[in-house]
């Protein structure tokens, strides 16, 4: 067996260049891909075996330059500098070379072992752009491999090149971009000083350090500042600044960037031919409507509304079919199980509990498909543009909006996605709004309650109303925070709009399948566990008095001289009454009763209280707990959960609305709270926030309940 040699490859490039797509294509991973800048916020590692090599691939957050700007971009620079990967693959968007090559120039300056992957060749060909690769290689000094990450084209060629570069078989010519005379003079001077500083690493790239010093790079500043030579360097920098000011009426930093641009522009003129277009592209037409002064906001609301409408309307028949089959299942299974405990745990516990969650699978998958369409199409960044001013009024940022939309799926990735915001106070304010963006796990609660208590035509609108309420409370919270504890200057908003792209069918199907599998897994693990616990808690301890009563009463009925059917009916009534009594006697019942005074004003009885507490584990558990608790005392497969709820005297329309509002607003699940703590840094604000959230939820539900009682 031949030994594997290991190669570490870093994928670096501008945001939205297709690094994660390439990473997935190479390693078979499923990192998130989306058509807007700033999808990846952490580095991810994966590996593959190619020929005799084990290649570790590292996907990095996108960055526009190597003087980093937002927290996730710093990750990229640190990785390249500190971890020194064997090969840096610069993923470049072939349709957008001018901006992308700016980063390539900076990587050249770092003298890393560079390989350029020219991505999106499919789009390049489609747009009729021709690129002279040989000439471009000459200018940049490193090899350029055309690929299409999305279509898995050119990957073997890329891997061959990676191997060759790491083996040193491909020479990387250390081409230099030459800057304006004054800058070059300053660079030479500073390099001379750095060379004569004995404490400094001789192997370090002094030219790069000099350039970065001229660019006011804080990290290199602090690195050099501790040496005696700093005094001289500072003088040289001062001199460069005044010279550039005099001769070019600008500063070295801008001059360096201008020179890089000039280099790239020159290269573009030599190597790239774009067909002349006089007509507007489809993308321009779409933007004319979507970003229109008058239509922009209505279109935005329409899009969001359409997603929820789709989730509910299209999902309903599928959901009902699933619910029906679960009913059938428990009817067929029940007679085969021994009566008593075992039957109860399967029928009331597993089937009613887990089943009540699983039936919402179609809705969940549809919701996520809608969201991933937003992410993949390129509308996300445009929505941020349209809505920025509104967000700004509340002290937030257009870019806060992207995590917020992600939050409609799940709060956890959404909270992490706030890392694309530069200012800490904006980040915190955005994190605090996300739990109010009703996540996918809360959807089953709404679908259940809205479906049970409102006519189909109204149900989708009630749900949409709930979502709007969440957004409103979220924005209000942000405003409150930003005008009190998180006061700060507003973060600048500078963002690129990506071209529209059609999500591929395979990726849509794949995403849907993955979401479905994840949901089912959650149902089979976390929710099943919670269901069993709830079943145990609501069946033990048992009251022996009630057991005795059951026995004597049953005997009495059996002995009585009434007709058989009447006997059966009486027995059923008796059992229901005893079961209800046992439930109240159980741990769940007793702790629920303790809680009841607190939630009575909201229209909730102790059973809902139990469901809310268990919902802290995961919001779907609210539904499964209701399923388990309310099905105790009902015969197997007798009726669906929504019918049971409707038939409960204590459960009115007002209760349903109030419960939806409460579930929308109260503390997010433990996993989300954990991530919040991780991103915020300390517990104190998170605990304060949780208390605040509870208070808001209580007040809002109270108002809802009493208004609903008045009006309905």
């Amino acid at each position: 067996m031949s030994q594997h040699k290991t190669i570490t490859v870093a994928l670096a490039g501008n945001p939205n260049a297709g690094k994660s797509s390439l990473f997935n294509a190479l390693t078979g991973a499923h990192q998130r891909v989306g058509n807007f800048p700033g999808v990846t916020i952490e580095k991810h590692e994966g590996y593959l075996d190619y020929k005799n090599y084990r290649i570790t691939v590292v996907d990095l957050p996108g960055t526009y330059s190597l003087t980093p700007y937002s927290p996730e971009e710093i990750v990229t620079r640190r990785f390249i500098i500190d971890e020194k990967p064997n090969v840096v693959v610069n993923v470049v968007e072939g349709t957008n070379l001018e901006r992308n090559l700016m980063l390539t120039v900076q990587l050249m300056e770092m003298e890393v072992d560079l390989l350029v992957a020219l991505n999106m060749m499919d789009e390049v060909e489609q747009q009729g752009i021709s690129i002279d690769l040989d000439q471009l290689e000459q200018l940049f000094g490193s090899h350029i491999v055309p690929i299409s990450a999305r279509n898995h084209k050119g990957l073997d060629d890329l891997l061959d090149h990676i191997v060759s570069v790491s083996e040193g078989r491909i020479e990387i010519r250390k081409n230099k971009v030459s800057f304006s005379a004054e800058v070059e003079k300053a660079i030479d001077k500073i390099v001379g000083m750095l060379c004569h500083e004995p404490a400094l690493d001789k192997a370090a790239n002094h030219r790069w350090m000099a350039i970065k010093l001229l660019e006011n790079d804080r990290e290199v500043y602090t690195q050099v500042q501790k040496y005696p030579v700093w005094v001289k360097i500072e003088l040289a920098l001062q001199e460069a600044i005044s010279e550039c000011g005099m001769l070019h009426s600008t500063d070295p930093e801008a001059l360096i960037t201008e020179d890089r641009h000039a280099f790239v522009r020159g290269a573009m003129q030599e190597c790239v031919r774009k067909p002349k277009t006089t007509r507007a592209s489809a993308s321009d037409y779409i933007d004319m409507v979507v970003l229109n002064r008058v239509l922009g906001l209505p279109v935005f609301f329409l899009v969001v509304w359409a997603i929820f409408q789709l989730t509910f309307t299209l999902g309903k028949p599928l959901m009902e079919a699933l619910a029906y089959s679960f009913g059938l299942l428990s009817e067929t299974v029940a007679p085969h199980l021994p009566a008593g405990m075992v039957r109860s745990i399967f029928v009331d516990g597993v089937i009613s509990g887990v089943g009540s969650v699983v039936v919402f699978l179609p809705n969940i998958v549809l919701l996520f498909m809608g969201l991933s369409f937003l992410e993949a199409s390129g509308y996300m960044a445009r929505a941020a543009f349209v809505i920025d001013k509104v967000m700004h009024r509340f002290g937030l940022h257009g870019k806060s909006f992207i995590p917020m939309i992600t939050g409609f799926g799940c709060s956890i990735p959404a909270i992490m996605a706030t890392r694309t915001l530069k200012s800490r106070s904006d980040r915190l304010a955005t994190i605090m709004t996300i739990p109010f963006m009703s996540c996918g796990a809360k959807l089953p609660v709404y679908v259940l309650l809205a479906g049970a208590f409102f006519p189909p035509a109204m149900a989708a609108n009630v749900m949409f109303g709930i979502y709007l309420l969440g957004i409103a409370v979220g924005l209000w919270t942000a405003w409150l925070l930003k005008s009190t504890v998180l006061k700060s200057d507003s973060e600048p908003f500078v963002m690129e709009l990506p071209p529209y792209r059609w999500p591929t069918l395979t990726s849509v199907v794949f995403q849907a399948r993955m979401k479905a599998v994840m949901y089912l897994k959650k149902a089979g693990t976390l929710i099943l566990g919670a269901v069993i616990l709830i079943w145990v808690a609501s069946n033990f301890p048992r009251s022996s008095a009630l057991d005795a009563e059951l026995a004597t009463e049953t005997a009495r009925i059996e002995a009585s001289a009434v007709a058989l059917e009447l006997k059966a009916e009486q027995r059923q009534k008796l059992e229901a009454r005893i079961d209800a009594g046992q439930l109240e006697y159980s741990i769940a019942g007793r702790s629920g009763k303790l809680l009841e005074p607190l939630i009575r004003p909201l229209g909730f009885d102790w059973r809902i209280g139990i469901a809310l507490v268990t919902g802290l584990a995961a919001k779907e558990v609210v539904v499964s707990t209701l399923g388990t608790i309310f099905s105790i005392g009902h015969a197997a497969g007798e009726t669906s959960l929504s019918e049971i709820l409707r038939s409960e005297p204590g459960f009115s329309k007002a209760t349903a609305l109030s419960l939806m509002v409460f579930v929308l607003l109260y503390i997010p699940c433990v996993a989300a709270v954990g991530v919040m703590k991780k991103e915020v840094g300390t517990w104190k604000p998170v605990l304060f926030y949780s208390a605040y959230v509870m208070l808001v939820a209580w007040i809002a539900s109270f108002i809802t309940y009493h208004l609903a009682l008045l009006w309905m």
């Binding site: 957008n96 700016m102 930093e253 229109n292 002064r293 908003f493 690129e496």
Partner: protein, 97 residues
């Protein structure tokens, strides 16, 4: 004049970029350096931010950031009627009053 003073459809060339250091850096990385030609495409529905196109990409920024960018106008929207300029003229809801 300032970038933020252009009207939708105007073309201009950047003459200087001033902003807080990190923002200036970002603007320059995105291609807004001296000499870059750009076109102001539109204002967002509520009048802020703005969208420009330069070097074949679409950029958006708030007026606040656009205030720091000095440009000189090359051609105004009224002057040109052909191509997709003309098309926008016909559809110009996006125009600032």
């Amino acid at each position: 004049m300032k970038l933020s003073e252009l009207k939708a459809g105007d073309r201009a060339q950047v003459s200087s970029v001033a902003a807080e250091p990190a923002v200036r850096r970002r603007l320059m990385d995105l291609g807004l350096v001296r000499g870059t030609e750009l076109e102001l495409l539109r204002f967002a529905p509520l009048g802020d931010p703005i969208e420009i196109s330069c070097n074949g990409l679409l950029l958006t920024m708030r007026r606040n950031e656009a205030d720091g960018i000095t440009v000189h106008k090359l051609a105004s929207a009224e002057g040109r009627q052909h191509g997709w300029q003309g098309l926008r003229k016909r559809h110009r809801f996006g125009r600032r009053a």
